[in-house]
Symmetry: C2
Subunit: 360 residues, 2 copies
């Protein structure tokens, strides 16, 4: 089978039907449907419909709770706790956002802790709206199951790939930040994405020398041996430090599992971990001039980088700002997006009754 084109609206319908059939509650259906559709809209395939079967499987197996409604609590003037109560993380994150925003505006900075959640969504979606809709600077830290060795010296998976995400508001030409695309990035502490190593193993392609070790702790370019060994953190000991920091931030405040404690989790379905989101309000947290002065300074830097990016492209060099490709893809998303036909059929089948499925 080849690739076919579908619209965002069709993507929403496919998600909704599949999650409904799996028995998920309405609030969570809305949250996850929008999350998957936004990932496809931005060309972030790894967190789009590709994830839908895993969400449904986690519900079928009773791993994630289908009827969990997140509970949001104010635990301190600048701290919010969102308890997902064994459900998926996205509904809990969205449920926690309003109080996080309120607290950041009231005190200057606030923390959102997300606990008891099964994570399967791209982390940038947890911070982008805080910058784009609310004008806040936001950071998120999430651990995962153990894939990455302590380096140098480690021989087995100890840390998660442990993504961190960052979002900073920008202003539009009219001076407001509403509607402006924020500066956003979302990156793991490992050299290479787990999925890319899996694909390389399937294709028999080599991987870079600094991406993984085999089961004996020796660096390897053989992707199949890498999957039986451990991934390496980016930039050696510096990536190890960051991976450790993310473990501590994401899981120590919430009491959720560290990567090494979640080693037995099946990563074809969402895995249970902690998450911490920080939000800083440039209006309150300011050396003077508030939001306006802040946004002007942000433009002073990012417009300089953008000018250099344009100059680089003019001379045939590839240079871009993080998330630039996502925003460019987003602009074209109304035309729909391409998807692997086998994956599409699989996702459609998830939402159909047995009679429907028989027709495929």
């Amino acid at each position: 089978m080849g690739r076919v084109r579908i619209t965002l609206s069709e993507c929403r319908t496919i998600c909704r039907k599949a999650l409904q059939k799996a028995g998920l509650n309405e609030g969570a259906i809305v949250a996850i449907t929008e999350n998957i559709t936004a990932a496809e809209r931005d060309g972030c395939r790894s967190h789009g419909l590709f994830r839908l079967p895993g969400y449904c499987l986690a519900l079928q197996r009773g791993k994630a709770s289908a009827d969990a409604v997140p509970q949001v609590t104010s635990v301190a003037p600048s701290c919010v706790l969102a308890d997902a109560r064994g459900g998926f993380s996205t509904p809990a994150t969205l449920a926690g956002h309003p109080l996080l925003v309120e607290k950041a505006r009231a005190t200057g900075v606030a923390v959102l802790l997300i606990r008891n959640a099964f994570h399967f969504a791209a982390l940038w979606q947890d911070v982008e709206p805080l910058a784009a809709k609310h004008g806040l600077v936001a950071m998120a830290f999430l651990n995962s199951k153990a894939f990455v060795a302590h380096w140098p010296g480690g021989r087995r998976p100890l840390y998660g790939t442990n993504p961190m995400a960052f979002a900073c508001p920008r202003k539009t030409a009219d001076g407001s930040s509403a509607g402006a695309e924020p500066f956003v990035f979302d990156q793991a502490c490992a050299t290479m994405a787990r999925g890319d190593i899996t694909l390389a193993a399937m294709d028999g392609r080599p991987i870079p020398a600094d991406a993984a070790i085999d089961a004996n702790g020796q660096p390897t370019i053989d992707a199949a041996l890498a999957l039986k060994g451990a991934q390496l953190p980016m930039a050696g000991h510096k990536g190890t430090s960051l991976a450790l920091m993310v473990e501590l931030l994401a899981a120590s405040f919430t009491g959720d599992a560290f990567a090494f404690e979640a080693a037995g989790e099946d990563s074809s379905t969402p895995t249970q971990h902690g998450e911490l989101i920080l939000a800083i309000d440039p209006e309150r947290c300011s050396a003077g001039g508030g939001r306006e002065a802040f946004l002007n300074r942000v433009e002073a830097l990012l417009q300089m980088v953008e000018a250099e990016t344009q100059a680089a492209e003019a001379s045939g060099r590839s240079m871009r700002l993080p998330s630039q490709r996502r925003f460019t893809t987003r602009k074209k998303a109304e035309e729909g997006f391409e998807i692997d036909e086998a994956l599409l059929r699989k996702c459609q089948a998830l939402g159909e009754s047995e009679g429907d499925t028989a027709r495929l």
Copy 2:
């Protein structure tokens, strides 16, 4: 000249005399003397007496203010501003710490902005006491003058080496965190330290292939060409993202200079930039169980890493926790430390009157 051994007490005396002679105010003398001495105590030579001539030169030239007394202001319930008023950063940071701690304890999380400061100190000292003395989790972000290119695609220095530091409290065997060595790291976003490239150029040694580009934007292993080109961020585009994040966090809230705006600064003396420090109180910012539950979780992870470290060392592999070497060095510091004799003479001469100097 060779190397000689001096005590921490002698180090303090040398610093104090030199800074007094340069006309610095008493509060700043105490802060910088302790900072330099703590760096030597921990074997952090790059930020020890090696920095003393630069501090004095900045005062002689009138670059940094000798009589600036930092001004600390509460700008929001969770935000403190420490204005160094053109003085050095260390007195301003220490002046801001008490209100930062008070606010973090009151609200769960707080931010300290440091502006108008000349930075020359190691960043870990800005966060370690927050964890070690106050039981807070702390992060610090500091930009520097432009040395690092946007990668891939950049051809000239655009970002600072931009260190970030992290500190997390730990507990001692008796269950308290007072006196326990925290988990701390302090690392730049560049592949290689600027000073190490300078040393390689002096010795004619090659540098790693991913550390720098020459003035034409081509990767180079020639350290001399690297100094005329630009350093590279660690881990390619991921290090670029982190360097950008540090610029935005450190300089946008404070209104201080971005790296590219400080390109003309002479880095043999302290340079003027912004800094942001975050402090989170595990007692308030908790999903349940407060500080005690938090410290137990931290130990669950770090004792696991330490056990693996010991196993690695037993089989001849080098593996350690960040800052482990510093704490080991610290335990031996009462015996004094070794210093290059020429540097020692230079530092001693800074504090002596003309008559004294003539005797050397």
